[in-house]
Symmetry: C2
Subunit: 339 residues, 2 copies
DNA sequence: ACCCCTCAGGTAAGCGCTTTCCCGGAAGGC
DNA sequence: GCCTTCCGGGAAAGCGCTTACCTGAGGGGT
């Protein structure tokens, strides 16, 4: 394992010079020396120890990202956006999957803090659990107090920058579309109730119902996991519970796809008998039959913007945390028709 | 930013003692002292600097993973498996997206080497590009010579352990299924030609053709990107080129889904007029209409096994690199019928 | 009563870099 | 021709930990 000192010895210079050359620091160095050092680096196959560099250097470089699950297309899209911006800025990204477990999320914050990452990005956080939220908040504040930057994708409930998807408005868009099409018996396939994404989207749906003179009660709502299987199960439940059902609103596309599968299995025609609307506009939504109507969220862009926030110089505005919104838009395709 | 020394001072002990306690080293420490130190840690909100620890310690901990693209479901599944095992072993995973760019892949190997990760896992590597392969190989060997472990998912063409998916056999399974159903004019939607995944799967398809007394020539093959859009484009191309076409074999499911979309658009009935088979058995394959026949690869399991290989003690077998295979199996669903 | 062993805890030498400060020589000004 | 100014390069002090080695006190054996 060649070290900086080995290279210096080999090239007959001091370690300071080698360091300056491999980091091409502003300090000028004679061309001849530079070449000699570079040759020594190549001969010895020297790879600087990033841990030592990090320790000796003042500034931080890598960015840590905590997501629920990269294999979920929702987060995969966001992650893609995050990486793109990070790579463009020459930053290393450390991705951590919390698998929706708040404790693991907490542990990862510690871990990234310990590694002195330049920033921590929380994607899809937000739990309805006061003790957890408080602990998370404490940890994030501590991290910030040591110079780390924090960016959150989701609700703005922690110190730090945030990019906030219009979940409530999106829910309203979905509900409004359905009611406007004449549906009155609308079932809602919701995600886990302890996630704020669920409650925010649900709130929008509720508001839409009220706007059209209806009410969304517990009977109309089935909670399940934010995935295909959860969607299928919830759809089955609602079908049993709501005899006159003519429309289903799922709080994300994976669940909507699961619902579609469930309906197909039972011989219920979509959209003929039941209309279905999803949320997120994931790639899959145009590949199912019928093509899914949904509420679009610019996921990759959200990722890019979050990384930009995380990377911005703390200097450029001592004006506190920045909060940006990401617009939800309605995308009507083939799975919704008027009643 | 509290340091170990601060904690030591606060608790009135030496740094050695603090270090021993926070790492609960085997060296015994009086209970009273331990409590005092832990109290100081809590008061000062001390978070050890992982870089310093890494530098001072002999052993390495984190594992680096280089994948083509986490937002691709194929890699998302694999990554999921990798993480699971890593987390179970208390290891941090650093995920790097190469976006299928060999140069970036090379750069990431350096980066992970620099960070002195315990292991590097290459997922989906394999380029038909001798210079690149040679450079990659050199870098990996150097990394290994410094004590790093290497595991590759894909062809076993580098030093280090490997888990090898049966790509050739899988291709044969797909081809055999099609020919057995009576198809003779089979078009192949292939991935980028510089990827070994493409050529391996293609080779299997070729062998199946020969086994059934047919030949797969350039006319029958369209190369495109391994995604939905690529599949659609390639399908369009083959449709134009092969008038009598009755079956399409895509080298992954994303492309197959793209092909399905293209065929639907042109009013070609699947499987009535054209049968379609995919590869990988991604989640989406059961959600499209018709449900996709495909060749299944146990992706998550592959990830788990790769991580296990990467984590195994170098000691347990000085018997050189381990090579394991991952079986491909045929999954017939609704998109293939006999002619 | 003396010696040796045990064991909790401290001392200090690194780990591999970066960077401040300093030095000596060459160049420029008068 | 002498003094000042630059400028390339080196010495060395950390960065925040871990750990091999040492110390001193108490306990048991003879």
């Amino acid at each position: 394992m060649a070290t900086l000192a080995d290279v210096a010895r080999r090239a007959g210079v001091s370690t300071a010079t080698v360091s300056r050359i491999i980091n091409n620091s502003p300090k000028p160095v004679t061309e001849a020396l530079r070449e000699r050092v570079l040759a020594a680096v190549a001969e010895l196959q020297f790879v600087p120890n990033a841990n030592a560099q990090q320790l000796a250097r003042a500034h931080r470089s890598a960015v840590g990202v905590i997501v629920h699950d990269v294999s979920d297309p929702y987060f995969a899209e966001i992650t893609r956006g995050l990486q793109r911006v990070a790579t463009d800025n020459g930053r290393l990204v450390i991705i951590c999957n919390s698998y929706r477990d708040p404790e693991r999320e907490l542990a990862y914050v510690d871990l990234l803090h310990a590694h002195r990452t330049a920033a921590i990005i929380l994607a899809g956080s937000g739990y309805h659990d006061a003790p957890i939220t408080a602990r998370l908040d404490r940890k994030l504040r501590l991290y910030q107090s040591t110079g780390g930057r924090v960016a959150v994708i989701g609700r703005h409930e922690h110190a730090g920058d945030a990019i906030v998807p219009e979940n409530e408005h999106g829910g309203w868009l979905a509900g409004d579309a359905l009611y406007r099409l004449g549906h009155t018996a609308v079932g809602v396939i919701a995600g886990p109730r302890h996630l704020t994404t669920t409650t925010d989207r649900l709130a929008g749906l509720r508001r839409a119902a009220r706007d059209h003179g209806h009410r969304l009660t517990t009977r109309h709502i089935a909670y399940a996991d934010f995935d295909r299987a959860g969607g299928a199960a919830a759809a089955a439940e609602l079908l049993g519970r709501l005899p006159g059902l003519t429309a289903l609103a799922a709080l994300n596309d994976s669940m909507a796809v699961g619902a579609l599968a469930c309906l197909r299995e039972r011989g219920v025609d979509v959209p003929g008998q039941v209309s279905v609307i999803g949320f997120d506009d994931m790639p899959i939504s145009v590949d199912v039959t019928p093509r899914l109507s949904t509420v679009r969220l610019p996921l990759e862009e959200i990722g890019q913007r979050a990384m930009s926030l995380a990377l911005r110089e703390p200097a450029d505005g001592r004006d506190g945390p920045l909060v940006e919104h990401a617009a939800a838009t309605l995308v009507l395709r083939d799975s919704t028709v008027s009643r």
